[in-house]
């Protein structure tokens, strides 16, 4: 090694340490912003060190790539609305995967040894499936594509054949690296596989898919690191891979479903034996709702994806303030899979300036539920469904839910009586203490706010 190479490698070590410490700081709300900055500096350091390498003789390609990509990324990041965050994260993620695919493909020109060939094939494979998988996720989240599940006869067989042919072509490429056709085959099959893997997954399972794709993009970078023999790619890539896997695990646990169940079987396909639900629906007007809230001293708000759709977070914040001025204690109960990505509700409420210490996790709000006068459910359905707790025939039986039905009164804000995702009947709507406030969530809450002021 020349002394310059030593300097570059040492810079990578420093960058790795900064990435690690940055991720650690991201783990607490007070220090998260600093953590992100530190991580960005680590990236800058890694990029500058890479530019110092003596193998680099011309800069115009690098520079133009950086200017174009940076301009696009920067513009989009500044313009995007907070409600569009899930699809944005998916899209950025896909580009990371695509970059790893390209790096893997380009690394072929280095006349690689067998071990490197395996890494190349892995980076192409994971990168390719991350790319198209993220694009499909983007389409579903932005509703460019239908957010439902896409199922067809023989899907399992087609997918199994696809996996087998991906593996076969990958092996063939490693055996015959001179025949570049094999690599093209791996590229196209992995792109196709990304599409096939995500189309059967419905909107409500998106938090799992996004976390998993996030993990894949890290693993693809990691494989690309093996392909071009670079430590910093391996370290940073595997940190991302590990964090994505943990989030995936948390999301699966919050739905009481195994990862393979989410990935390989649509929610609706499980037999939903329609058990009769006893009771009747009791609608309530905004005015009557106001009288109940006015007398309440302890209120919990449970938001779901419907709050994001109705863009109701700002009026919710107003209502929260009015209730507090009225002497009530207000908390939010956030289910881990409420919304379309991990932490979706938290971001929306933060955008509306709701302090994050009012946001309670499911395990913290459930023990308090019996002392709550009014629980307001805004656009959430499955995550507050008592059938998950006590109806064994329900497809979501066993999923941990927020027990809003234990509160003295429950308001459910809902557009109409159409059942939620996958058509699961919700006995909550028929309970003695439940009142349905029909209409657009934003309008209904704005109505309550008007009554207060």
């Amino acid at each position: 090694m020349t002394s310059l190479e030593v300097v570059i490698q040492l810079a990578y070590v420093v960058a790795a340490a900064m990435f690690i410490y940055g991720l650690k700081l991201l783990g607490s709300a007070d220090s998260a912003r600093r953590g992100n900055m530190l991580s960005a500096f680590a990236m800058l350091l890694a990029i500058v060190s890479a530019l110092l390498d003596q193998g680099i003789v011309e800069y115009q390609w690098i520079l133009s790539g950086f200017v174009i990509g940076g301009a696009i990324g920067g513009t989009v990041a500044r313009r995007v609305k907070m409600t569009a965050m899930p699809e944005m994260v998916a899209l950025f993620n896909g580009f990371g995967g695509l970059a790893s695919l390209l790096v893997g493909t380009a690394a072929i020109s280095t006349n690689p040894a067998t071990f490197t060939l395996v890494s190349i094939v892995l980076s192409v494979l994971i990168g390719g499936l991350t790319f198209t998988g993220s694009l499909i996720a983007y389409g579903k989240l932005s509703e460019t594509l239908s957010s439902g599940t896409v199922n067809f006869r023989g899907q399992q067989i087609v997918n199994s054949l696809l996996v087998l042919s991906v593996i076969a072509s990958a092996v063939m490429f490693c055996l015959e690296p001179d025949n570049i056709q094999w690599l093209y085959l791996v590229v196209s099959l992995s792109l196709l596989f990304g599409v096939m893997a995500v189309i059967p997954i419905g909107g409500a399972d998106m938090p799992v898919v996004i976390s998993l794709l996030n993990s894949y993009s890290g693993l693809a970078a990691c494989a690309a690191g093996f392909a071009v023999n670079n430590n910093i790619l391996i370290v940073a890539g595997s940190l991302v891979g590990a964090s994505g896997i943990i989030l995936t695990k948390i999301m699966c646990k919050a739905m009481n479903r195994s990862l393979s169940h989410v990935l390989f079987s649509g929610f609706g396909s499980s037999s939903s034996s329609a058990s009769e639900v006893e009771g009747e629906i009791k609608p309530i007007s905004v005015e009557d709702g106001y009288y109940v809230l006015e007398a309440a001293t302890n209120v919990a708000i449970i938001p779901g994806y419907g709050m994001a759709v109705a863009q109701a977070q700002h009026v919710v914040k107003e209502l929260c303030e009015l209730l507090e001025q009225n002497g009530a204690e207000v908390n939010f109960g956030i289910h881990p899979v409420a919304g379309r990505m991990p932490g979706h509700m938290n971001v929306l409420l933060a955008e509306a300036d709701v302090p994050y210490d009012l946001l309670l996790e499911m395990d913290d709000i459930n023990p308090r539920m019996e002392n709550i006068d009014v629980a307001i459910v805004i656009g959430a359905n499955d995550v507050v469904n008592p059938a998950a707790r006590d109806m064994e025939s329900s497809p979501i039986y066993g999923m941990p839910v927020i027990n809003v039905d234990y509160a003295r009164t429950v308001f459910v804000l809902k557009r109409s009586m159409a059942s939620g995702f996958a058509g699961i009947e919700n006995p909550l709507f028929y309970k003695e203490n439940t009142r349905m406030l029909f209409g657009d969530a934003k309008e209904s809450i704005a109505g309550l706010v008007r009554e207060f002021s």
């Binding site: 991720l23 992100n36 390609w61 072929i108 690191g225 890539g237 881990p336 302090p355």
Partner: protein
């Protein structure tokens, strides 16, 4: 021997990753994800090495394209994460 050495690094980094992320509160799940996402753009470092060889061949151009896509990921990812984190406030802040 190089391969074994690299695999060793991989193993340690994955364990470290698990330990680091395990205790993150649910409030920060989105910023964590998008921040991690930005880090996965590290592949730009590999792309730079391929885009700057000056050989005017296919892998040169693939490398340049990879730099562009990874830049979207890096720049976009960090900025969007920062925008989100700037909104998170405690009561009274």
């Amino acid at each position: 021997m190089e391969a074994v050495f690299l695999t060793f690094i991989l193993m340690l980094a994955i364990f470290l990753g698990f330990e680091l992320i395990n205790k993150v509160p649910a409030t920060l799940h989105t910023p964590l994800m998008s921040g991690a996402n930005a880090i996965s753009g590290i592949t730009i470092v590999g792309a730079i090495g391929l885009a700057g060889t000056g050989q005017q061949d296919v892998s040169n151009w693939l490398g340049a394209a990879a730099v562009a896509f990874a830049s979207i990921n890096v720049v976009g990812g960090y900025l969007v994460t920062d925008r989100m984190l700037a909104m998170f406030k405690k009561r009274g802040d």
